[in-house]
């Protein structure tokens, strides 16, 4: 069995929850990436972080301890996602029995 779950981001969906994990979408140049909202430092909610530009690169700052990550790198390491027209499907890791739920969260990381 596949260790990944297919989840659809509908037009109004900015986040999706799989098990206990939250994933959020972010769009750059019409390209949608799906990022795991868990800071690798201490698990902070990255979707509540802020994006700023510095030195020609965009950085996402975790709201808990201020750790910053190049946004391009987060997107490159993001959840596998495919976008056709307005439809976005992503494949976050999932444990057996997990299900996915669309969520409408406050997202600051845009």
């Amino acid at each position: 069995m596949s260790g990944r779950l297919r989840v659809r981001f509908g037009p109004g969906d900015n986040t999706v929850r799989v098990g206990d994990e939250l994933y959020f979408r972010i769009e750059r140049d019409a390209e949608v990436s799906v990022i795991h909202s868990r800071c690798p430092h201490r698990g902070g909610p990255l979707h509540l972080g802020t994006v700023s530009a510095r030195g020609g690169a965009e950085l996402l700052r975790c709201p808990w301890h201020g750790t910053e990550f190049p946004l391009a790198r987060l997107c490159a390491k993001g959840v596998p996602a495919v976008q056709v027209g307005g439809e976005v499907h992503a494949y976050p890791p999932a444990a057996p029995g997990d299900s996915a739920h669309s969520a409408h969260q406050i997202v600051f990381a845009k």
Binding site: E31, P80, Q83
Partner: protein, 448 residues
């Protein structure tokens, strides 16, 4: 207007395309059907000249006359890399044969092909986007979902054929589209048989030899397709129905030539091919039902039946012995390319179904029509089909003319003072009677 004084509106390949299209095999035909030669594939040089090559088609204008012309051109480029011989021998076709495969034609085709491919397929780069770090688990989850969604989807084209007022006309329009691949089946696949790429090369070859009937001509899939054609009274020569291919269906066929011709597109090809093989079995089973409903016992459905059976195996082989092992072996880039191939083929398939459905459900009707004063006057003595880039009025000024929109079932006969409104996006051709004249112009708003 002659070719030489046509406006040069396009980009750097214009001259190369013009030189290619002036070859004898691409000159106009007086008839709606091509007979006894696999080489004669008319290309309207003036319309080709007007193709805006540097501005690739977008999804919104993909079904268009420039799209039709570019796809016809590309098909000739690709197929000049495959061997065609006339069924009744080469003796009377030697010059056509030499021209079709001449060094100059092949050189021009190679020079113009990349830009022509960008023009037709460039929109796929932005229509399908992949992000994130892909792995084999994600690939498996994606291909499984894509197959499941497709095999359980509605089949509006088949339903439209069965519900058509002229089901045979509708079914034969579909057969003509399928003939693009059916009469040369697995030619694109053959382009990836060479080289050395491990165990997957042998897996691909196993699928290929099924397509070729294990070397038995009567069991070759293209032979079964030819028998399907004959059983319903259709011609079985490649490109007899040249003028009636819809742009989207030529593009679907061209896509597989493109991704098998370019070695760096190999994984994209495997994705698209595996997806199709895995969805074909139920599709072809449904086609058997539809064609039985239309023709009763008269139709030879062995082409459909063979696919309904063997593609159960090919689907499994292509996904589990090719796609996934290639993903495990070659990693993230290969996986993304395979997913891209799946989605590009799904998108092209959807566009092809929409195009065919619209052509099947279009029922042209004769109306009273004054000649369009500023309209384009059709040239007598030559037949062409085109895609209406706007709602178009065909008006017969004098004599009689036949409006063709399907390969069988006969044209709609029009007398002087009559015309037909052709909706945007529909393929049509006008055969002028002796001494007749007709014009094309924008359909007046009230008539739309």
């Amino acid at each position: 207007m002659t070719i030489s004084d046509a406006p040069a509106t396009a980009g750097p390949i214009t001259d190369t395309v013009r030189a290619f299209a002036q070859g004898a095999n691409y000159l106009p035909s007086p008839d709606p059907f091509i007979a006894k030669t696999p080489y004669h594939r008319p290309l309207d040089a003036r319309r080709l000249d007007a193709v805006p090559w540097p501005a690739p088609l977008e999804e919104q204008n993909w079904i268009s006359d420039p799209g039709l012309m570019a796809n016809r051109l590309l098909m000739n480029f690709y197929e000049s890399g495959a061997l065609f011989l006339p069924a009744d021998g080469l003796a009377r076709r030697q010059a056509e044969f030499e021209d079709f495969y001449s060094a100059e034609a092949l050189r021009n085709a190679e020079l113009a092909r990349p830009e022509a491919e960008r023009f037709v397929f460039g929109f796929l780069d932005s229509a399908v986007r992949l992000t994130g770090r892909w792995d084999t688990d994600a690939l498996e989850a994606h291909v499984t979902a894509a197959i499941s969604e497709t095999t359980s989807a509605d089949r509006p084209v088949l339903r439209a054929i069965e519900e058509s007022a002229e089901p045979k006309r509708a079914a034969e329009l579909m057969i003509a589209q399928m003939a693009l691949d059916g009469l040369t089946e697995a030619t694109a696949m053959s382009q990836n048989l060479g080289g050395a790429f491990g165990a997957e090369q042998s897996e691909l070859f196993k699928i290929f030899i099924d397509e070729f009937g294990y070397g038995v001509f009567d069991a070759k899939h293209s032979t079964l397709f030819a028998e399907l054609c004959r059983s319903v009274g259709m011609n079985d020569e490649p490109h007899h129905y040249w003028f009636f291919y819809l742009p989207s269906w030529i593009a679907g066929n061209n896509y597989f030539y493109k991704v098998t011709r370019s070695r760096t597109d190999f994984f994209r090809y495997i994705g698209g091919m595996a997806f199709l093989e895995a969805t074909f079995a139920p599709s072809f089973a449904a086609m058997t039902k539809t064609f039985r409903a239309v023709y009763g016992d008269a139709v030879d459905t062995r082409y459909f039946d063979e696919h309904a059976h063997i593609d159960e195996h090919h689907g499994r082989m292509a996904v589990y012995d090719l796609l996934l092992p290639l993903g495990r072996k070659h990693g993230a880039h290969a996986i993304k390319e395979m997913v891209r191939g799946i989605e590009e083929v799904r998108l092209l398939g959807r566009l092809g179904d929409e195009d065919l459905l619209a052509q099947i459900t279009w029922r042209p009707e004769a109306v009273q029509a004054a000649p369009g004063g500023e309209g384009e006057r059709l040239e007598p003595g030559r037949f062409e089909t085109r895609v209406a880039d706007r709602d178009t009025l065909v008006a017969v000024e004098s004599g009689t003319a036949g409006l063709h929109w399907t390969p069988t079932g006969g044209p709609l006969e029009l007398a002087a003072g009559q015309g037909v409104r052709v909706p945007r996006g529909r393929l049509y051709g006008v055969a002028l009677g002796e001494g007749a004249s007709a014009t094309l112009s924008a359909a007046p708003p009230a008539a739309r």
